[in-house]
């Protein structure tokens, strides 16, 4: 970034190193970030991460810390202690929730990525009657409020005898419109028509073309969709809250139950359970943050 702030005369001697960088003069000054810009962004950053860090800090301290004034800003030494109480709480509901959520989110992620890539490929690259209309229908399904279906879905689950089982929170979410939309958007540009033609000339069936040519090319988008789906499912609350009981908890259900039971008696444990429940996604986010950001930004640019 030093070139942006250096003496403008020097540009005449040294050509810009990267052609994509905005030109000098009005252009570059226009995009310069002032100290005030940084100040505002740092404030936004601190406000964004503080509650998360605070939860982790409180998870390492004892019960007096949550309401200490001013709030303590250093970790304590009680983390292991708090975690062991989390694991014991409500007959070990936390660990069961963790395992169940891993199963649920894992199965749904694989299914959503698989079915979405199939449908997305078909909508982007295959020709069939009703293609535009059906795609618009799928986009419209993204706009339907999920709450609308909760009461009748519950009646269906009673009829299927699925209440309080994991399939009740898995099966209804095996596909979603967003996934199809995202994969279609990516497939339109990522897969050339020549590639598919070449496959046809070689006598490949459509399935074969999908499996050996298209799916590998869709891998980056599939990874992003997988990450977003897993995050969404890990955090899902309302439907599990409706259809499951403490016998079959998900991770969100378990921390909700723990917090409702102990918020007046054992803050440190409540914080520890919350921090532990956030931890897997935070790790995923730190490792794959760039991909997640690009997924959100690309998924939003729609026509």
């Amino acid at each position: 970034m030093s070139t942006l702030t250096s003496d403008p005369k020097r540009t005449t001697h040294t050509p810009p190193r990267r052609p994509t960088r905005p030109r000098r003069g009005v252009g570059s000054r226009l995009w310069e970030a002032s100290p005030l810009t940084y100040l505002a962004l740092v404030i936004a950053l601190v406000l964004s991460v503080f509650p998360i860090i605070w939860a982790f800090l409180m998870a390492t301290r004892d019960n007096r810390s949550a309401y200490q004034v001013p709030p303590p800003l250093l970790p304590g030494g009680d983390f292991a202690d708090n975690v062991s109480r989390v694991l014991d709480a409500e007959n070990g509901i936390f660990l069961r929730g963790l395992v169940n959520s891993a199963i649920v989110a894992g199965i749904i992620t694989i299914s959503v990525v698989f079915f979405s890539s199939m449908a997305g490929f078909a909508f982007a690259k295959l020709h069939f009657r009703g293609r535009t209309g059906l795609m618009l229908f799928i986009i419209a399904t993204m706009m339907v409020p999920t709450q609308l279906a909760i009461v009748p879905l519950y009646l269906i689950m009673i009829r299927l005898d699925w209440t309080d089982t994991l399939q009740a929170v898995i099966v209804p979410f095996l596909v979603n419109g967003f996934g199809v939309f995202l994969m279609r958007q990516y497939a339109v540009t990522a897969i050339s028509d020549e590639l598919i033609e070449a496959g046809r000339v070689d006598g490949c069936s459509t399935w074969r073309i999908y499996w050996s040519l298209v799916l590998p090319a869709l891998r980056p988008a599939a990874a992003v969709l997988g990450l977003l789906t897993f995050m969404l499912q890990w955090n899902e609350f309302i439907w599990p809250f409706v259809v499951l009981t403490p016998n079959t908890p998900t991770v969100q259900l378990s921390i909700k139950i723990i917090s409702a039971a102990h918020y007046t008696t054992d803050y440190a444990m409540v914080f520890a359970s919350t921090a532990l429940a956030m931890l897997p996604l935070l790790v995923v986010f730190v490792v794959f943050g760039k991909q997640i950001i690009s997924g959100i930004m690309e998924g939003s640019v729609k026509e």
Partner: protein, 322 residues
């Protein structure tokens, strides 16, 4: 075909015949495959997405409880009962209030942050990831953590407010403080997400436009309102619609914030419509028919509000343009 020996005529005929069959099969395969590829979505969505929605309409016209089962057709009784249900109107009022208190500052703030992120920045990824971090947390976690921040008497929020000389608030059993606290939770989680969506749209704006405006003497603030905002209008409308759909269904944050009380505060200060649906359907009287009717009305209200917001925002941005 470099072979010198020609196959006997009979064999050749057989081969072309076989090829024709495989060609016809191939053509059929090419025609049918797309439908097979999209069928998993439509089958699963049909069963667990479309059917329940139609079923909602059906159930809403019956006297149907989870305990006693279906007690028969009652027409629009559930809906007329809704009109006189003061608890429903209270929930609707709360939902609207929190939607507006949360969404307006959230989207404005997201626009500002996106505008800052669109500059040439050091540590760009760090800033982007930082403001998106709340999005990775669950609504339950947000509810729990902010429940402590807004704890009565000893919470962090009370401490900070007392530091600047503002008195105590009863965060759960007083309407405005409850609305404000829950709106802050919602904004904390979603502002960064919306900012990144705006940022994506802003990056598509040709930079020459700004240079031309700068030569004409337009300051940054003016450029923001006359170039940036009008040009990302489709994205703003998209986020307005999404926020409307999400905000009108608010459920988890107020529930967890009120320590799991479905009534949301002793005097139902922050009970939303979605919470009220739950209370009616899965608690108390277990009245599924009535719950379905409320869901349906909420759905219609969401469509209506989304349309109104869409028109309002579209108009107001056009005015800014001209």
């Amino acid at each position: 075909m470099t072979t010198t020996t020609k196959p006997p005529p009979g064999e050749r005929r057989q081969r072309t015949h076989r090829r024709r069959i495989s060609l016809r099969l191939g053509r059929f395969e090419v025609k049918a495959a797309p439908y097979l590829f999209i069928s998993p979505f439509f089958i699963l969505f049909g069963i667990f997405g479309a059917f329940p929605i139609i079923f909602t309409v059906y159930v809403s016209m019956f006297d149907w409880t989870l305990l006693a089962g279906n007690q028969g057709f009652v027409g629009l009784d559930n809906f007329s009962r809704l009109l006189g249900d003061s608890l429903f109107w209270n929930a609707l009022r709360n939902t609207f209030a929190m939607f507006i208190i949360a969404t307006v500052p959230q989207l404005l703030l997201a626009l500002m942050i996106a505008n800052l992120l669109n500059r040439t920045l050091r540590a760009r990824t760090m800033f982007r990831m930082g403001i998106l971090a709340p999005y990775t947390t669950s609504l339950v976690a947000v509810g729990i953590v902010f429940g402590f921040i807004f704890a009565e008497r000893y919470g962090l929020a009370t401490y900070l407010l007392e530091m600047i000389g503002v008195g105590q608030f009863n965060w759960r059993n007083e309407q405005l403080p409850a609305w404000a606290a829950i709106s802050i939770m919602v904004d904390w989680r979603w502002t960064g997400y919306n900012a990144l969506i705006y940022l994506a749209a802003m990056q598509a704006i040709p930079r020459q436009l700004y240079e031309a405006a700068a030569i004409d003497g337009a300051r940054r603030w003016r450029q923001f309102w006359t170039i940036t905002v009008p040009l990302i209008k489709p994205t703003i409308l998209f986020t307005v619609i999404l926020s409307t759909i999400g905000g009108m269904q608010l459920f988890t944050e107020p529930l967890v914030f009120n320590y799991g009380r479905i009534q949301g505060g002793i005097g139902r200060e922050s009970q939303t419509v979605a919470m009220y649906v739950y209370e009616r359907t899965f608690g108390g009287t277990f009245h599924v028919g009535y719950g379905a009717a409320i869901s349906l009305v909420l759905f219609l209200i969401i469509i209506l509000v989304a349309l109104v917001n869409f028109t309002l925002v579209r108009r107001s941005i056009r005015t800014a343009e001209g």
